[in-house]
């Protein structure tokens, strides 16, 4: 039997469509006999849980793993896009990166060999650090100078 704290955590997962079947079963057992957690469920649905209900079409690149069966009602939310419109920023950023990529593509006569496995990015907490921004800008500057006019 789960306690109130665990039940309320599961309720938040359910609101965001992230609860699996075994969690749903445990939650149902608790909710059947706990008015406090039922009250929390209502409160959450009208509070933070509303972020889960601002629905947008599914992401084109969404690839839900088959091992996760979601027991919930809400697809991925997108309130952030309403709050911080990225379109203009993304467009200008993409344009800049396009220049970088185009420059790089033009110098592929000297391909970079693949890095040894130890240098590959394996995960967030086990990887090399990216270059500092100053280095990045320097690289871009060098790239820009190599563009054939």
């Amino acid at each position: 039997m789960i306690d109130h704290e665990q039940a309320q955590e599961l309720l938040t997962l359910r609101a965001f469509g992230e609860m699996d079947e075994s969690e749903a079963n445990r939650l149902a057992l608790h909710l059947g006999s706990c008015a406090d957690c039922r009250r929390f469920d209502q409160e959450f649905a009208q509070g933070i849980g509303r972020l889960a209900k601002l629905e947008d079409p599914p992401r084109a690149d969404a690839t839900p793993p088959p091992s996760v069966r979601r027991v919930g009602v809400h697809p991925a939310p997108a309130w952030r896009r309403r709050l911080a419109p990225l379109a203009a920023c993304a467009a200008s950023f993409a344009a800049g990166i396009c220049v970088t990529l185009a420059i790089h593509s033009g110098s592929e006569s000297t391909p970079t060999p693949p890095p040894p496995p130890s240098q590959r990015v394996e995960g967030t907490f086990a990887r090399e650090s990216p270059p500092p921004l100053a280095t990045t800008l320097g690289v871009l500057t060098v790239m820009a100078r190599s563009v054939p006019r």
Binding site: A15, R50, L51, T63, F93, P114, R120, P130, P131, T136
Partner: protein, 173 residues
Amino acid sequence: MNASERMPPEAALSAHGPMVLRVCTAILGDRERGADAAQDTWLRYLRFKDDNSIDNLGGWLRRVAVACAIDLLRREPPTAQPLEAGESRPAQGPDQGQVLVARELADFVRAQLPRLPESQRIVFRLKTEAELSLAEIAEDLGLALPTVKTHFARACVRLQASLRAFSPEGTHS
């Protein structure tokens, strides 16, 4: 992405650029810094793009974007933004009998996020702002799914508690 299906860099940018920027901006909570981290991601892509071990470019880019954004977050932590009167909260708190409109709720959450532990804050933003599933977040962060679920759920419970304290009589509900 093996050699036979490797796409040109421009196509990779077109296909995955919005996702990379979305993930970086979600973690950093700032568009300019998100763009810096996205740039780091693409520069790293340029170094590794011919690596035959990359068999899922979208997943690889997402993981690198998360890594670059977290690196930047830790190099240059954001300054805490206490909730100032009249800044992010509704002018008089939620109007009596009215619900917080979505914008106010989002502003409230954004103001509260810096108060969460980093792990909870990153997971919450990746879920609600970058629209990743918790399974994807677990993969990107190299954490077990139950751990990520706990981070996300605790963030939700804490934010709900803050909202309750902000509106002690439950007028938001």
